[in-house]
Amino acid sequence: MLRTFAATDPIAQFEVKTIFGIEDVFGMDLSFTNASAYMLLASALVAGLFWYSASRTSLVPNRLQSIGEMGYEFIANMIRGVAGEDGLRFFPFVFTLFFFIFAANMIGMVPYAFTTTSHIVVTGALALLVIGIVIVYGLMKNGLGFFKLFAPSGAPLPIYFLLVPIEIVSFLARPLTLALRLFANMLAGHITLKLFAGFAIQLAATGTAAMLLAPLAFAMGIALNALEFLVAGLQAYVFAILTSVYLNDAMHPGH
């Protein structure tokens, strides 16, 4: 009985295991873990795909080149739609971000694989990178005019004493929502997947009339699997589009 529970523990899949330890580098634990390995795999997959798809180009593209071109067009159109033509200077950043998250989410859908984006450290680091670029670039481009972001024009003066702190809080909450949304979606999705798969196994193992319910749980697991694929793609898209929205704010504050 204990072993059944151990095999269906919905949280065990998120465990970070050290592959080889590099402990105590200036007081920090820099061990190479399964999370590092899967992030490397995601980067390598994306880099490999686009390197290969760009390595032998022809006027009539083959399949892989077609995938590369479609990916380029997709992200370029998204940035143009949100941040205009001059938003394209951030194209390499948004493109890399989208495909890294997309690859990490999709690798997470493979059974027994580790989902790096279900860890708030990973999504938090990505969100901090985004907001860091927004702040640094916004200050570089607009100087102190960047702070117009916190004071929307057209309100009577006394209102600003309330409005400015609220806007500052909601600006600082952006990286947190960005990180939390991706993390929460992946975590919740993978826990429900594991739970329903576990139900199916546990019900089938009872050996009583409850066995008849096992196919139901299994069917639910399959339906959830399809939904999870949708969520995996969608959350990568949401992360990328919110990034371009924030970058647009950095370029044109005071909207």
Binding site: G84, I166, V169, H252
Partner: protein, 110 residues
């Protein structure tokens, strides 16, 4: 598919060129479609929680720096709650606009 039809090709080239022209639309916020109830709940929930947590953190930071315990915390938590409600209202308006857009384009297709 009549891909080798020259008129069709020039039409397609024109369409591709038009698509690349900078559109005169104001930048829109996230067009995340409302997937399902769970997705919506997560979206509102993260929006609310993140703002309150930031308000709390700022309040604690102010108290730590200026030694004004508990006033910084109380006031910034208030601002955090206000920002949270503002965030949820913004998200709600965005989702409603998306749904209106979706139904409008669905009507066009009929």
């Amino acid at each position: 598919m009549t891909d080798d039809n020259p008129e069709d090709l020039s039409e397609r080239i024109r369409r591709a060129q038009n698509a690349r022209k900078p559109k005169d639309t104001s930048p829109s916020e996230s067009p995340e479609p409302a997937v399902n109830a769970g997705g919506l709940a997560l979206r509102y929930g993260t929006e609310f929680a993140a703002n309150v947590i930031v308000g709390l953190g700022l309040g604690l930071l102010i108290d730590y720096i200026f030694g004004t315990t508990p006033w910084g915390l109380l006031i910034m938590l208030g601002f955090g709650l206000a920002a949270a409600i503002l965030g949820v209202i913004r998200a709600y308006n965005k989702i409603n606009a998306e749904i209106a857009e979706l139904t409008a384009s669905a009507d066009d297709r009929d």
